[in-house]
Symmetry: C2
Subunit: 163 residues, 2 copies
DNA sequence: GCTTGACTTAAAGTTAAGTTGAAGTTGTAG
DNA sequence: CTACAACTTCAACTTAACTTTAAGTCAAGC
């Protein structure tokens, strides 16, 4: 059996990727990874799956959700084992997202210096208050937006102005 | 009644801060904010609480958990209404945390460019794989670390090396 | 052939940060 | 005085990303 044909049990795959077997099964239910089965219904992972699993973990470290990762992985060819070039395309896509995130945080950082001390913390005008980036709103259960709270047309005072 | 003595109902406070009343009650159970009660047991918020609530929302936008925010708010004096200076101290503390986060993301970004394409994605040595910042591990239910997976003392191959 | 560790599925539990709903109470405008 | 909006509490639900447990099956060494 050549190296290319090697298959691993779920325990071996989990150990080599440093994650729990339960996580691998979970990823499979989410369509992130796949396996073949033995006669006795046990999973076997092709070694090329190791890279895919590692990329999933790396992407999580970048702050992506499993759904976003799944969507990115869908761009890989499914008729053949992904090449180095295929993986690089993915990483380029993620680089851009990461750049945006960094820029956003830098903007927040600039605001932070002055905004909290000053009196502006208003949901109408304060950039710090209104930074609704997807980092902050991710994975925390429902966070519905409240609409129709304030009509800028009416000549009133801003009700969201703090002091 | 002077402006300093003004108290708001939970509905008014919620509207002025642009959040739901349920969120305010929730913050109160978490000890993030406080209120006084009327004869009839209804909450009344002092106007100085508006700033505190706004700071909480701003801090969430920075990516902090309510627990971290509570801990930071605990540094405010509780015998008097916080001054501008008090709030600025908080924002300085958060600025530093934000700087670290930005630096971490920039490191990831550098790694991303080369790491995914290359063969290194190993939990033992790959910086991209091992970036365990608190952004990625926050708010998603338990994410326990797996210990004792690999003993660097044993002369073996790295089992976490991909391909 | 048996024991034991690794595997199987399915259902229920976990955390954060709230939301939603039920059932009842308060406050205020008319 | 009465409607009715706004308030009260408490319990159950939501999402993401898994983990844990139960009850049973497979595989490998002795």
């Amino acid at each position: 059996m050549t190296a290319v044909d090697r298959y691993l049990t779920i325990g071996e795959a989990a150990q080599r990727c440093g994650i729990a077997t339960s996580a691998l099964r979970f990823y499979e239910t989410r369509g992130l990874i796949s396996s073949v089965r033995t006669e006795g219904n046990q999973r076997r992972y092709h070694i090329s799956m190791l890279r895919r699993i590692s990329v999933i973990r790396a992407a999580q470290n970048l702050g992506l959700t499993l759904e976003e990762i799944a969507s990115a992985l869908a761009s890989l060819p499914d008729n053949r084992t992904p090449t180095k070039r295929d993986w690089e395309r993915l990483s380029t896509r993620w680089s851009k997202q990461l750049d945006e995130r960094i820029a956003q945080l830098q903007k927040l950082r600039t605001n932070l210096a002055t905004c909290i001390g000053c009196g502006c913390l208003s949901m109408k005008s304060c950039a710090l208050y209104n930074a609704n980036d997807h980092i902050a709103s991710r994975g925390n259960g429902p966070r519905y937006l409240i609409e129709d709270l304030y009509d800028p047309e009416s000549g009133e005072e801003d009700p969201t102005q703090v002091n």
